[in-house]
């Protein structure tokens, strides 16, 4: 009932004012897969200025608000493809460059973006290619004439490509050792600062900014100024951000042994990260599902069944991981626009093989959004979230279902919806 009153109160107030700007819109569909909660039949979604203002069943819409009504359609949040190289080439290096970003490579008018947008994908995460620490991924809207228009978040997650070998393990250990080194440096600088400010030294120290010096660096203009920690090396900064939870981390693994050595390399360190599991025909990742599940990690993987090695026995890794406690985020099977279009159908196959339907809906929206650290902003149909929707002719996982229209930030960007 509170919903009703709000909407009634809100609608006239906004409706009158915002109508000229054309912001407010009521969407009436047969069913809304909200993802965050239960599905809503006869759903009404009120959108204003690119945001979801209200969601409910059969909400009355105040007069004057334009209504987009499709009683046969199903709406779900726009799909989120969090791990892709769409529109950029796959040349990769081997250097240690955690600070690198893939954004300079992006060509906004690449036809792939239009194609995936029409398939219902409203957010993509472009990752940097390469082994080791090739850089961090950026979150984009596959729509816009310039990079600035496309960009949602430049720092989505730090990409780590990890395989079970001595070199990779050393790189991981070294990186975190440097973080500890930096912390030590900050601690020392802080102590010195505290001492200095107490001791009230007369002369003003020059600003020193030399990286890689054993001596703790200090940045002080005035005694009265607050403590400014020494600047971290650009190559270390992403790790500090990961540690402080500002930046996500996605660790790419291809087999159970990779996991074992990764867990060994990071040791006891508490880190917030997601896994990227590269699905192969005979993947043995189920061997470590309990370990992954126990930590409640998010796993980005293809909606694909695998086989027990040397046999034709099928295994449903996604289902097994989810049962063990992991969160599943799907990515399209192949990194092509075509497989983005077939994405829901492929996920439907996994659902047919026993994966929970509710989790599957999450696995293409909210979970990948969480990998991009955007789950507070998008990924479900909830009040306050971005109005990114896919309008479907029927159930999302039904093979015959078609994408009818796509809304991005409250605007229809695809589909025959002009009235």
């Amino acid at each position: 009932m509170t919903i009703l009153t709000t909407i009634l109160a809100l609608a006239p107030a906004l409706g009158g004012v915002s109508e000229p700007s054309g912001g407010l819109l009521a969407i009436k569909v047969g069913r809304a897969e909200t993802v965050s909660g239960a599905a809503i039949e006869h759903a009404v979604i009120l959108v204003d200025n690119g945001q979801i203002v209200e969601v409910g069943a059969d909400l009355p819409v105040a007069r004057g608000i334009p209504v987009f009504e499709r009683p046969d359609w199903v709406v779900m949040p726009g799909l989120v493809s969090c791990y892709t190289r769409l529109g950029v080439d796959s040349r990769a290096g081997q250097e240690f460059s955690p600070e690198a970003s893939p954004t300079p490579e992006i060509f906004p008018r690449h036809p792939d973006y239009k194609e995936v947008l029409e398939a219902g994908v409203t957010t993509i995460g472009i990752y940097p290619p390469g082994t080791g620490f090739p850089g961090h991924a950026a979150a984009l809207r596959p729509h816009g004439a310039t990079l600035a228009e496309m960009l949602v978040d430049e720092d989505a997650y730090l990409k780590v490509y990890f395989r079970a070998n001595a070199q990779a393990k050393k790189q991981v250990r070294d990186a975190w050792a440097k973080v500890d080194e930096h912390d030590e440096k900050v601690k020392k600088a802080k102590e010195k600062f505290d001492k200095d400010s107490k001791g009230k030294s007369s002369e003003k120290k020059d600003e020193e900014k030399k990286e890689g010096e054993a001596k703790p660096e200090e940045k002080k203009d005035d005694k009265s100024k607050a403590f400014v920690p020494p600047e971290a090396d650009a190559k270390i900064k992403p790790f500090l951000q990961v540690r402080d939870g500002e930046l996500g981390m996605l660790v790419s693994l291809s087999q159970a042994a990779d996991w074992a050595h990764w867990a060994d390399a990071i040791g006891e360190r508490k880190l917030d990260y997601a896994l990227r599991v590269v699905m192969t025909r005979e993947i043995d990742m189920f061997e470590v599902k309990e370990e992954i599940g126990k930590r409640g990690l998010r796993v980005v993987m293809e909606p694909q069944l695998s086989l027990v090695q040397g046999t034709m026995r099928q295994r449903n890794l996604a289902t097994e991981l989810a049962a063990a406690g992991a969160k599943i985020a799907f990515k399209p099977r192949n990194d092509t626009a075509g497989d983005h279009a077939a994405w829901l159908r492929h996920v439907g196959e996994i659902v047919g093989a026993g994966f929970s339907r509710d989790l599957a809906l999450k696995a293409v929206t909210l979970e990948p959004a969480a990998v991009l650290k955007l789950d507070k902003k998008l990924g479900s149909i909830e009040k306050g979230k971005t109005a990114n929707f896919v309008f479907l002719s029927g159930d999302p996982f039904e093979p015959s279902t078609q994408v009818m229209a796509v809304m991005l930030d409250g605007e229809f960007v695809s589909g025959e919806v002009k009235e």
């Binding site: 079970a164 070998n165 087999q255 042994a257 074992a260 050595h261 060994d264």
Partner: protein, 478 residues
């Protein structure tokens, strides 16, 4: 915890009763150690609980020559704590009932490839403990293997402490086909020997004369020196009679024990090799033609291993292919280590020597015989439980235990579970006991086309050694 402590002392006492397992001195050492451990355990409290594991009721072939029928092997934290008949098993111990089955030390393959994943080095940081080849090797009884001159433990689902020892063998090229290389090695050994002699002399004399200068080690080959000092073993790849004799002479001249790979014509010069204290790494199925223009003996012989052994050469057996062939049943790869040893038995090697050739001898060559290779108190609890003689081609490994943990259970893995499934209590209550003492199965050998080797060990080779084999346990073949 208390029980465990009490047990420690008891176990050691019980063990002392078994003269063939441990000398009294050892047992006493064990007791002392246990006391220390007890104290340490008290300090640590429940920080780390001891992990007990016991294999009970099996006929334990210790690998040292003893057979303990219906005995118990008890492991504490992966190390054998006690073995014998009066072993008290702590209540919290996990147990494995091996009644009616045989317990052997885990097999050791001196060479292998691919068992530890794709990597060929840096095993501690790259081992793949989930790969199928490792599982298959465990299913064939192998618990320790050498690869890239590293001794490695087959630890399933565990990447910790996989490397047992590195670089214990130094391969030398010393053949008649490479005369300059031969000369070089002789010079290197000569120099190293002279240096070591000088060094010893200096050590003797420096007590009286402190000003004496230490002999100069520059120019002394480090490998040759390490070999002469016994820190590494010299490994040769020799098969022809002439090469073998050269190696034997070199070893005798400089006083080290050579490891000879191949050693195909070893049987022709076995006494020389025995005198040189050689180890031979043989593949009994290797074939080599005699050089017909020569009057002397030559070529391969099925009796090679037996003759070498009789002459005092320690024989290690390895199949001709040291990888695992997943493409089909190859029959000559690392998974058939005991069958290869069975061929040595076919040539007259004793069962005991054949068992040693795939357990303790390779363990010695890898420099890990203090840890693996036989079932003795204080060694790692690496053992295999089989339904018959380990050297018999129809025997199947039922369980493989690595460091006190079941790493392979035949009925739980898909590879061999369907072949002669283990009877359950309901299906065949007494099928494993009191039967088949005199059962032979000559027709069984004929009826199994998969058992290709026609000259495999026939049951009559060792009649009294398989009490539990029965005609109804014939392989179903598929």
């Amino acid at each position: 915890m208390k029980l465990a402590q009490r047990f420690g002392a008891l176990g050691a006492l019980a063990l002392a009763a078994f003269a063939f397992v441990a000398r009294p001195a050892l047992a006493q050492d064990g007791e002392k150690k246990d006391d220390k451990k007890d104290e340490a355990a008290k300090d640590k409290k429940d920080e780390k609980k001891d992990e007990w594991f016991a294999v009970t009721g099996g006929d334990v072939y210790t690998g040292t020559g003893a057979v303990l029928r219906g005995a118990t092997v008890l492991s504490k934290n992966g190390v054998i704590e006690a073995l014998g008949h009066d072993v008290e098993v702590p209540a919290e111990a996990k147990t494995l009932d091996a009644t009616g089955m045989r317990v052997y030390p885990g097999l050791v393959a001196i060479n292998s490839s691919g068992l530890f994943g794709m990597a060929a080095g840096d095993f501690a940081d790259s081992v793949d403990p989930y790969n199928q080849r490792m599982l298959l090797a465990l299913a064939s009884g192998i618990t320790t293997a050498g690869q890239s001159n590293t001794a490695l433990k087959l630890k399933r689902r565990d990447i910790k402490n996989v490397v047992l020892r590195e670089r214990y063998l130094a391969t030398l090229s010393f053949t008649n086909s490479n005369p300059s290389g031969k000369r070089e090695w002789v010079e290197k050994f000569d120099k190293a020997a002279r240096y070591l002699r000088d060094y010893r002399e200096w050590e003797e004399k420096k007590r009286d004369n402190k000003d004496l200068k230490e002999p100069n080690a520059s120019g002394v080959d480090s490998t040759a020196r390490a070999i002469l000092e016994g820190r590494v073993l010299a490994r040769f790849n020799s098969s022809s009679r002439e090469d073998l004799l050269e190696v034997a002479r070199l070893a005798q001249r400089f006083g080290f024990r050579p490891v000879i790979d191949g050693c195909v014509e070893g049987w022709t010069v076995a006494d020389e090799l025995g005198r040189a204290g050689a180890y031979a790494v043989v593949t009994p199925r290797d074939r080599r033609d005699k050089e017909e223009q020569l009057v002397r003996d030559g070529g391969s012989s099925i009796e090679n291993a037996a003759i070498l052994h009789k002459s005092g050469v320690q024989v290690c057996v390895i199949p001709s292919t040291t990888g695992v062939d997943l493409g089909g049943i190859a029959g000559r790869d690392i998974l058939h280590l005991p069958i290869e040893a069975g061929f040595a038995v076919r040539g007259g090697l004793s069962d005991q020597a054949a068992l040693e050739s795939i357990t303790i001898v390779p363990a010695r060559l890898l420099g890990v015989s203090h840890k693996v290779g036989s079932l003795e108190k204080g060694k790692d609890c690496d053992l295999i439980v089989l339904d018959g003689d380990v050297l018999h081609y129809q025997s199947l490994v039922q369980y493989t235990v690595v460091e006190g943990k079941v790493a392979y259970d035949k009925s739980a893995e898909l590879f061999y579970a369907h072949i002669r499934p283990r009877p359950t209590d309901q299906l065949a209550p007494e099928s494993r006991q009191d039967k088949g003492e005199s059962d032979e199965k000559p027709e069984g050998a004929k009826e199994t086309p998969a058992d290709k080797p026609a000259e495999g060990p026939k049951p009559e080779d060792k009649p009294e050694d398989k009490p539990e084999e029965k005609p109804e346990e014939k392989p179903k073949d598929g």
